[in-house]
């Protein structure tokens, strides 16, 4: 189309000029010339092809046509400079790829809005639990609901997961779910696709066995049957009736990796309606603001209620926080995401500067070519445009590679992310991310072409030389290249220090004494269905059945030791506490310690050291004297003056202390010791437990016989939680590992890019100065002096960049302070280490060119003249 249009325009131009020519020759004929003579004189007077060209220039070429030509030219030039192109594409791929990867995560987790209509009007209301926003007590929820005027409606959510038994076709299945007030759907603004939500009338005992299920559950359990409404959904909580199915994509908690499948009415027991002694904070409260009411106004109103509570019922006072639901959902992950984004932008800048350096070197090396083009009539603007287009061609090609990188890297990063990162399921390289990538590529291209363009602008157009290099190059260029190297080293220093801080924190966390040996410990949670229909049987039979599973498990070859635990297995977030007292001592009201029911070998399996007394034995059974083992923290707190062995305590009834064991960091390496009490499993009537096994053979050999043993006793049991104890631990530090990997990778990339940049500039400078060096060597300079001088130049630029980088890192690292573990963001070892690493890498990169400079053969160098 373009070519046809151009030819039509050219035809017209030709016709116009021919017309002129003919009129001119007609005039000559009129003056008396012969026809041939007239045509010759006319053509002579006219000026020929140059006129056509000049007209075309004035008319201005079609921009697509010009662009196409420039792009073809750029591609041809890039293909010719293969080393440069490969280097540049590699850097771009890493820079843009890393940016795309991180952005795809940040976008999904933080930036995207919530999938509800008018989601900006949704808020979450929390009661502060010391410094953290926590759940609300039902008493306070009712108070808000009654008195508030800020919200259109206010709903409460409590955890309500359950287990579906196997039904012959389907395996038993554990479901996530919520118990919600009936207005929950209305507040979010999403109604069931099929059926209807339940009503407030269902929020009472006896009327509450109705459920709204997810689209996913409808499809997989009911085959999408249209008559699903009214069907039964027997589960651990009772025999429910399905009243509705939510549309596909509906997910609450918003974007959780394991989103919910059932929503049932929230029934709040009588004790939750009165301000008695039931201080249970377990409700998530969400609300939709009335039109025109701001979050701040709602906050003021609820804070006012809280303040009144402070005088009326001080025990119930907690500060209230009203925040947009989006902020609530993204929560603590937000800061972490900003950190990653900041780091990747830093890396992208390093890549930009690095490319600017490479482009500058290339442009200088192209002086010859640019000179010829200038001599042939290209304006400075044309040359600058050529450079910019080359940069854009490069960066777009780099973006293409980067997207491939992100596609792979995104998968790796997603797998490395901790499970509690909100909305991680939505991470994808989609149109939105691609648009940002393209934008980044364009900005990158423009940024890194700035330096060479500036150079072209400042430079007096080089005369055509026979060779691409002269004896000297302008001080301007020198200074510009020097400044870029300094900037690059400074940015790389920030990245390396950031990486150092996170790696050091991770190392510190890994070295923390957890109090248990997590290696080779397999854990299988056995939580049989217990409901009103079988609770009596469960209490009577299940403890014995669990003991039977344990006995069978012990016999499996590859199992070194096995034990049962109920209450709190470390690292899994399980926790149960119970009132604790010492007769004759006042410990203060509401003194509670952790309650764990364990079978005798538990401490052997976890390798928890016994400090005093004895472990449990099989003799500590029901009917024998009730006993308890305390951990060191509990023993030290409640028996600070002496030996607790043999003393009596009140802990699930009176018990004699028989042992003290070492402390366990129950909630992971970054938490304090808890005060814990252990009682024999056989002295409690627990219908559920986790079996823990220390294994000496691969899990695949141990698991089948173990599962068979469990199935033998509990045919209906869902076994969703089969995991090595170390895996639970790793999930607790997953975000730390992910940060360390990401920032560590960025540090390495930043470092290599800086080294590449230094190498490129030094190598180029040395080539450029070869004749000069040759002369100096010829008149007696020693090679080692040359070596020192080149290294010295690199060293000066390095130290200047490092100085700036260290100061910048000193300031910026404050932002990362909260992510560090047992260290300040100004850790001297990290800073010194980063300094040394960069210095060595930088000098190492300069060493090659420096050695080449010192080995210049004067004769050859002079012949280059």
């Amino acid at each position: 189309v373009i070519t046809r249009r151009r030819s039509r325009r050219d035809d017209a131009l030709e016709a116009e000029l021919r017309d002129h020519l003919e009129r001119l020759s007609a005039d000559y004929v009129r003056e008396g010339a012969t026809a041939a003579e007239a045509r010759r004189r006319a053509r002579l007077a006219f000026g020929g092809e140059a006129v056509t060209e000049a007209c075309r220039d004035e008319r201005g070429g079609h921009w697509v046509e010009t662009l196409g030509r420039e792009v073809r030219l750029a591609v041809r030039g890039l293909l010719a400079a293969r080393t440069f192109t490969v280097m540049a594409l590699l850097i771009l791929m890493l820079g843009i790829g890393a940016t795309t990867t991180i952005y795809s995560v940040v976008d999904a987790v933080v930036l995207r809005g919530l999938p509800f209509p008018h989601a900006d009007r949704l808020v979450a209301i929390s009661e502060m639990d010391s410094t953290q926003p926590g759940n609300a007590a039902p008493q306070n929820f009712f108070m808000w609901r009654e008195r508030q005027t800020s919200f259109r409606d206010i709903a409460a959510v409590a955890y309500g997961g359950t287990i579906l038994p196997g039904d012959g076709v389907n395996e038993p299945e554990r479901l996530n779910g919520e118990q919600v007030t009936a207005n929950f759907f209305d507040v979010l603004g999403v109604m069931p696709l099929v059926g209807a939500p339940f009503s407030a009338a269902n929020e009472v005992d006896g009327n509450a066995r109705v459920a709204v299920i997810s689209y996913g559950l409808w499809q997989r359990r009911f085959g999408g049957a249209p008559d699903v409404v009214g069907r039964r959904l027997p589960n651990q909580l009772g025999d429910f009736r399905i009243v509705g199915v939510m549309p596909p994509g509906f997910s609450y908690p918003v974007g959780a990796r394991d989103s919910s499948d059932v929503w049932t009415p929230l029934v709040i027991s009588a004790s939750g309606h009165v301000r008695g002694h039931d201080y249970s904070y377990y409700l998530q409260v969400i609300a939709r603001l009335r039109d025109g009411v701001s979050v701040t106004a709602a906050q003021t109103e609820l804070s006012g209620m809280a303040d009144r509570l402070r005088t009326e019922a001080p025990a119930w006072y907690r500060p209230v926080l009203v925040q947009p639901l989006h902020a609530f959902v993204t929560g603590p992950a937000r800061r972490w995401m900003w950190l990653l984004l900041g780091a990747v932008i830093c890396l992208l800048l390093v890549a930009c500067v690095n490319l600017a350096v490479l482009m500058l070197v290339r442009t200088s090396a192209r002086n010859h070519e640019l000179g010829i083009r200038a001599a042939l009539g290209a304006s400075r603007r044309d040359l600058a445009r050529a450079v910019v287009i080359e940069a854009l061609v490069l960066s777009l090609a780099g973006a293409g590679l980067g997207i491939g990188f992100a596609w792979l890297g995104g998968g790796v990063l997603r797998a490395a992310l901790p499970a509690d990162v909100p909305r991680a399921a939505a991470i994808a390289v989609d149109g939105r991310v691609l648009a940002v990538t393209m934008l980044v590529a364009l900005v990158t291209g423009v940024l890194f072409s700035l330096a060479p363009v500036w150079q072209i602008a400042c430079q007096v157009m080089p005369a055509i030389r026979t060779r691409g290099q002269g004896r000297t190059s302008g001080t301007e260029q020198h200074r510009l290249r020097g400044a870029l190297i300094v900037a690059q080293v400074a940015l790389a220093a920030v990245l390396v220090i950031g990486a150092g801080l996170f790696v050091a924190s991770f190392v510190r966390v890994s070295r923390i004494d957890l109090g248990v040996d997590t290696r080779d410990v397999l854990t299988v949670r056995m939580r049989p269905l217990v409901g009103p229909w079988n609770v009596r049987v469960a209490r009577r039979d299940y403890p014995d059945r669990l003991q039977d599973v344990l006995a069978q498990a012990r016999a499996i070859s590859g199992v070194e030791a096995a034990a049962l635990v109920a209450g709190g297995l470390p690292f899994r977030g399980d926790l149960r506490t119970a009132a604790f007292g010492v007769p004759g001592r006042a410990l203060g009201p509401n003194t509670e310690i952790d309650l764990n029911q364990v079978s005798p070998d538990y401490f052997r399996v976890l390798r928890v050291p016994l400090r005093r007394g004895r472990p449990f034995t099989d003799a500590d059974r029901a009917g024998a004297e009730p006993v308890v083992i305390l951990n060191a923290a509990a023993a030290g707190t409640y028996f600070p003056d002496g030996d607790p062995i043999g003393r009596m305590v009140d802990f699930q009834g009176p018990r004699r202390v028989v042992g003290v064991i070492g402390n366990i960091r129950h909630d992971g390496p970054e938490t304090a010791w808890r005060r814990e009490g252990f009682v024999p499993f056989a002295q409690s009537q627990m219908p559920a437990a986790t079996i823990v096994l220390r294994i000496s053979r691969p899990i695949g050999e141990v698991l089948p016989p173990l599962k068979a043993a469990i199935r033998g006793q509990f045919p209906d049991l869902a076994l969703p939680d089969i995991e090595m104890l170390g895996d639970y631990l790793r999930s607790l530090t997953a975000w730390r590992r992910a940060s360390m990997l990401v920032l560590g990778l960025f540090g390495v990339l930043g470092l290599s890019m800086a080294a590449t940049g230094i190498y490129g500039v030094m190598a180029y400078t040395v080539v450029q100065r070869t004749p000069e060096i040759g002369v100096r060597l010829a008149i007696g300079a020693s090679p080692s002096a040359i070596l020192r001088e080149v290294l010295g130049r690199a060293g000066r630029q390095l130290t200047r960049g490092l100085a700036i980088g260290l100061v910048a890192a000193w300031g910026v690292s404050q932002l990362a302070a909260r992510f560090l573990f047992q260290m300040t963001p100004h850790d001297p070892v990290v800073y010194a280490g980063a300094f040394l690493v960069l210095l060595v890498a930088g000098l190492g990169a300069a060493l090659g060119p420096a050695r080449r400079a010192s080995r210049v053969d004067p004769l050859i160098a002079l012949r280059l003249e």
């Binding site: 002129h20 003919e22 000026g47 006129v51 000049a54 007209c55 004035e58």
Partner: protein, 115 residues
């Protein structure tokens, strides 16, 4: 009258002259050149190499509009005419040109005698 000498058109004024000629009515390139030469009594010589680029430039800037019409030779020729934008431009440039001439005149006719 034979020309005493021939002058190239001062830079920047060709556009003004073309606009002035085109203001008289649609006219093709060759006629513009002829007209400039005649009116200036052969003093102003316009080279085709400058004329046509200038015409295209003025057309691109929207000061001239062009159309192909049958001409006296029987063939189609490209006729240029002034646009309203071109008319405004002609007015302002003519004014500033007159001012310039006047100013130059004042300086040259300074009664103080050159030594």
């Amino acid at each position: 009258m034979p020309p005493s000498s021939r002058s190239d058109i001062p830079q920047g004024t060709l556009d003004l002259l073309i606009l002035r000629v085109a203001a008289l009515g649609p006219i093709h390139g060759y006629a513009i050149a002829q007209r400039l030469q005649q009116v200036s009594r052969d003093v102003l010589q316009v080279q085709q190499g400058t004329l046509y680029p200038a015409l295209h430039r003025l057309e691109r800037r929207g000061l001239l509009a062009a159309e192909w019409k049958a001409s006296d030779t029987g063939r189609d020729a490209k006729f240029y005419r002034l646009t309203s934008k071109g008319r405004v431009q002609l007015k302002t440039e003519t004014d500033s040109w007159s001012q310039l001439i006047e100013a130059i005149g004042l300086v040259l006719l300074d009664p103080a005698e050159p030594k």
